[in-house]
């Protein structure tokens, strides 16, 4: 069977990439039309979600990024054989071509905004509401303010990206998770904007990672889970 790491733009069809796949297996290419899948062959494969396996998959995709437009494939994807894979590539060639154009020359940056709850206790309410209720209301107001702030930070960063996606999280600490598709040449400016936002808004924490291959933008928005 074939384990699939990534799809790359196949004009011209790339040679088998350097480097190893899972278990040291050599990488190979199955190309149809203008789409090539980078794979490795295995008699059988089990792929527990462990750091080493995840990084192996990731590094294959990253090395390809230096030369090609790359669409990372979801971890753990296997296909029975070359014919089955070729049929999938044929069937969705237009979709993949569109995605190549979207991610070409761009990388993904991730930003999570975490709430840093206020250190000080809120003032007691003057109107006789109980201290517990006042505390909860104060905390709720602070979190709501932080949520609005997270969205405005996101809007500022999105303006520097070719495309962005975000989700608001209903967890106490994590306010917002966002991904930005950024032109390679703009990454430095984007990171400066993140640092600037972090300096100006100590009431939230920003976790920024990247650059990544365009995992989040590999599919059209409507197809994401």
């Amino acid at each position: 069977m074939l384990y699939v790491y990534a799809l790359v733009d196949a004009r011209p069809i790339p040679p088998s990439p350097e480097g190893d796949g899972h278990g040291g297996a050599p990488l190979c290419v199955v190309a149809r039309g203008s789409v090539a899948a980078v794979c490795s062959r295995h008699d059988r494969i089990e792929m527990p979600v462990e750091a080493d396996h995840l990084w192996r998959h990731e590094h294959v995709a990253e090395r390809l990024m230096d030369e090609y437009a790359v669409l990372p494939v979801r971890f753990g994807t296997t296909v029975a054989d070359e014919d089955a894979l070729a049929a999938m590539l044929d069937e969705r060639e237009d979709e993949f071509r569109g995605a190549f154009e979207r991610v070409r020359g761009r990388v993904e940056l991730s930003v999570r905004v975490l709430w840093a709850p206020p250190e000080t206790e809120p003032e007691p309410a003057p109107d006789g509401t109980g201290p517990g209720r006042a505390y909860l209301l104060g905390r709720l107001a602070a979190r709501n303010a932080a949520s609005s702030l997270a969205e405005s930070i996101h809007a500022g960063l999105a303006a520097r990206a070719a495309e962005s996606r975000y989700e608001v999280s209903a967890t106490p600490r994590l306010l917002l998770s966002a991904a930005y598709l950024v032109d390679r040449g703009e990454v430095g400016a984007f990171l400066e904007a993140v640092d600037e936002a972090a300096r100006r808004h100590p009431e939230v924490e920003l976790l920024c990672t990247g650059p990544w291959p365009a995992h989040t933008f590999a599919q059209a928005a409507g197809e994401l889970r």
Partner: protein, 65 residues
């Protein structure tokens, strides 16, 4: 080979944050080919529980410094 990726003010616990982001991307994003995904749905759910826990612990770690 694993490069350090967490950037900006929260460079503490960099490798943990980076691994969380990697898991999130590799198992939750990317092109879905209609082949076989070797992960069970239950595994993926567990990963997301772990992801939330880790994000929250990373952030607590930083606050405790």
């Amino acid at each position: 080979m694993t490069t350090s990726r967490a950037l900006g003010p929260s460079s503490m616990a960099t490798s943990e944050v980076t691994l969380v982001e990697l898991i999130d991307r590799l198992v939750g994003k990317g092109v879905v080919l209609h082949g076989d995904i070797t992960l069970a749905v239950a595994d993926v759910d567990l990963i997301y529980v772990g992801l939330r826990a880790l994000i929250s612990s990373v952030s607590n770690l930083e606050r405790d410094e």
